[in-house]
Symmetry: C2
């Protein structure tokens, strides 16, 4: 698979049709041949394969997590406007800070913590690198929603990720409850690739980080996926983490509660799945959104 194939030969082409389409996934979900070679047991691997996510409750201790939240808040307080610093629409609050595995020793250590890393290596079948990392701050009272999307659709079209061989981890720095806009997932949706309608404008990402307009599944596609798989909210105490497959449809509602919802989001991609040219034909997005110089985590100093 290279970007030189014609668009229609790309099994994951998107943003071209007048009507949405549902296509079959052509990649494995679990890439390891040796299924007993990692932290997830056979039952959990089978559940991940079926559902497209794995929720690990209290993977880190409360005291470890409290230190991470302190660091996240310190980084937000010190953040200066610039690439990789996203401000909440309608306020001056920091919504997202990107590339934490490069800019923060603390979060770099989370990225290579075996409790996350070894799961990623097991799921992706070998060595991995960090495609993207960020902290998402969903402020109390007015944290905005993220509409439904498949990360892979965007990463393939706009960043050039060839195949579905990446896993995202949302690590809860604060509790996730039904009231503070938890991550919502559609079980089983990763088996289907939804082609989205509409061409992608250049520099679209500057806006889409605040509000999505492209790469959005149609209502009919969402109804089909939810009719098949239902919906699940990833809830749990701080220190929990949800691993979800790069094509799992997800979103999150707004946060009306008096409690912020903060998480550390990290995407592991297989070193054999490094970015090519964007499959949608637009220029590639900035590196804080999609790393173009992969450093296998095993080589980190």
């Amino acid at each position: 698979m290279t970007a030189t194939l014609e668009a229609t030969a790309d099994p994951y082409h998107s943003r071209v049709a007048a009507e949405w389409e549902a296509a079959s996934r052509v990649d494995p979900v679990v890439w390891s041949d040796d299924r007993s070679g990692g932290p997830l047991d056979l039952e959990r691997l089978a559940a991940y394969e079926q559902d497209g996510f794995h929720l690990a409750s209290q993977l880190f201790t409360a005291s470890e997590t409290a230190l991470l939240l302190d660091e996240a808040q310190r980084l937000a307080a010190e953040a200066q406007p610039g690439p990789g610093v996203i401000i909440e629409p309608g306020s001056q609050a920091v919504r997202s800070l990107f590339r934490l595995h490069e800019t923060s020793e603390v979060f770099r250590n989370v990225a290579r913590d075996p409790r996350l890393l070894e799961v990623a290596r097991q799921l992706l079948g070998g060595e991995v690198y960090v495609h993207q990392s960020r902290i998402n701050f969903k402020p109390a009272f007015d944290g905005k929603e993220f509409f439904w999307h498949s990360d892979f659709e965007t990463w393939h079209v706009e960043d050039g990720m060839p195949r579905m061989r990446a896993v995202s981890v949302s690590f809860f720095l604060t509790p996730s409850t039904e009231f503070n806009g938890p991550l919502l997932l559609v079980p089983g949706s990763h088996h289907t690739y939804i082609r989205c309608v509409g061409a992608t404008p250049e520099n679209h990402h500057e806006k889409s980080l605040k509000k999505q307009e492209y790469g959005v599944p149609s209502p009919e596609a969402m109804r089909m996926l939810v009719d098949n798989g239902g919906m699940v909210a990833a809830k749990g105490p701080a220190g929990s983490a949800v691993f979800f497959e790069c094509n799992t449809m997800h979103g999150s509602a707004g946060n009306l509660s008096p409690w912020p919802r903060t998480n550390f989001f990290i995407v592991y991609n297989s070193v054999d799945n490094a970015l090519a040219e964007p499959f949608g034909g637009t220029p590639s997005r900035p590196a804080f959104l999609g790393e173009r110089d992969p450093q296998p985590i095993g080589t980190w100093g």
Copy 2:
């Protein structure tokens, strides 16, 4: 209590201070002297008094409720733009239809159904009339949030409702789940009156029906109320109803799910609590928002 008192003599004055204030409620919560004279037993009455709401699961049968939903959808499809017809921001979808107890025989019959009416009479201690009624349509995928508010604060300031002697009923025409933006309530919040900051512009209601900007509690006030009472989501099958006291702080998140959330909302007010001039000094709002010609339900033909 009349509108001729000075603002500061009004125990429920609001929108005047530079800082928010929490004041004590000066009215009973349950107004009946005879506590055994209605459908709610002593335990349920005590819970309503403490929490400020009562959730009645499956109060109407599934087949009764299906007919009501059909009627609601018919009314929305036939609605013409005009007073009492509110369109969703950013789309042409009907968000709310008002004054259903006057415009629809079907919903007029719901308003006087003993399963709702006798509870209202018991809570308010005597005869009641309909202060406001409406159907709220929260569309699938993009139904917008309603921020936290006390209905009484607005009805007192902008409509002239003298005292806290009204009860709202949200009747579920569709199931309410954690995923479709259910009504969120703060238990015990009805015991405290939150004075909101900021003067009220005239004709504010034309905008506030779409997005609230005035009569909004401060973050500090909300934190205090939620620290004291927590939060509850009113969830249940279609045909359920939640009765909530007019000063109970409530709101609802957006609806990201593929399922619309539709409810019939009806406010019963005591005939001894009919509207005076608005306590905030602005002209009174249109009658579809606050009935100024009370017709005791017992006199309905």
